[in-house]
Symmetry: C2
Subunit: 153 residues, 2 copies
């Protein structure tokens, strides 16, 4: 029945929405000591994995675009986490490098998160298959939404 479909979609969307807000708040407890937001932590993770990425590459990794990343990266530059400079071979692009502070903070930041998980007694092992389940939903929605936008062309 169609009504049931809507109800399930509503509940699912609402739960995901709530969980995302709660997770952000959870991470904020560990990150606030460093003056970081969750989004900024995501940028650091991307750069810890590979330094010197362009804004576009970071956006590909985090599914964000310049309208979000430009001011976000500027705030992180002001805070001393990274540097922003135009690429030499293509002056349209912006290359982002970690500062020394940004590099050496990886350990302390991740330790703070680990402590937060431990101290708050979040039994994360319990959610091994939850990650798998939510990822499938994520992929389904992503292909659904990106395929549609292709149709318009």
């Amino acid at each position: 029945m169609q009504t049931d479909h809507i109800r399930l979609a509503n509940q699912l969307c609402f739960s995901v929405y709530n969980t995302s807000r709660l997770f952000t708040k959870f991470y904020q407890r560990a990150l606030s000591d460093f003056g970081l937001t969750y989004s900024q932590y995501l940028v650091l993770m991307a750069l810890w994995e590979e330094d010197g990425q362009t804004l576009h590459q970071i956006g590909d990794a985090l599914y964000l675009e310049s309208n979000t990343l430009t001011p976000l990266l500027r705030r992180m530059e002001d805070a001393g986490w990274l540097t922003r400079e135009k690429s030499t071979h293509d002056r349209r692009q912006l290359t982002v490098h970690l500062t020394a502070e940004g590099q050496k903070s990886q350990g302390p930041i991740q330790q703070a998160i680990a402590e937060c998980i431990g101290k708050e007694h979040l039994d994360i092992d319990q959610y091994n298959d939850t990650q798998e389940t939510i990822s499938q939903l994520e992929m389904a929605l992503r292909t659904l939404l990106t395929d549609e936008s292709k149709m318009e062309e």
Copy 2:
């Protein structure tokens, strides 16, 4: 190992964050015709279920507070979805009522969402247990975060 815990938490949080954004975008396709945001749709759902709730009650249902709801409800009042008036028996509280437009729009809005689910071929039945799984994570995080704030008193 502690590093694995962080990695799982990071992946889980990132997936939930992405899925929430994607779901919001999905709903936006149906809601934009009515000039509604997802958050505003949540308020309408709460009022369709029980009209005449106070701001506080709506906040309890959606896990939002006055700093978010006050401007949100004002915009919805300006758009003609609802009315805001101080409660007579307790002038601190704000009572929210649906307008005639807000009441009769329930059918068309939910139909638009149903059409969106159908047209986009989102096999929502596939995610029956996903709702269960994500809800458990949501509850775990909520008790974890609200119990902690109680400790501070």
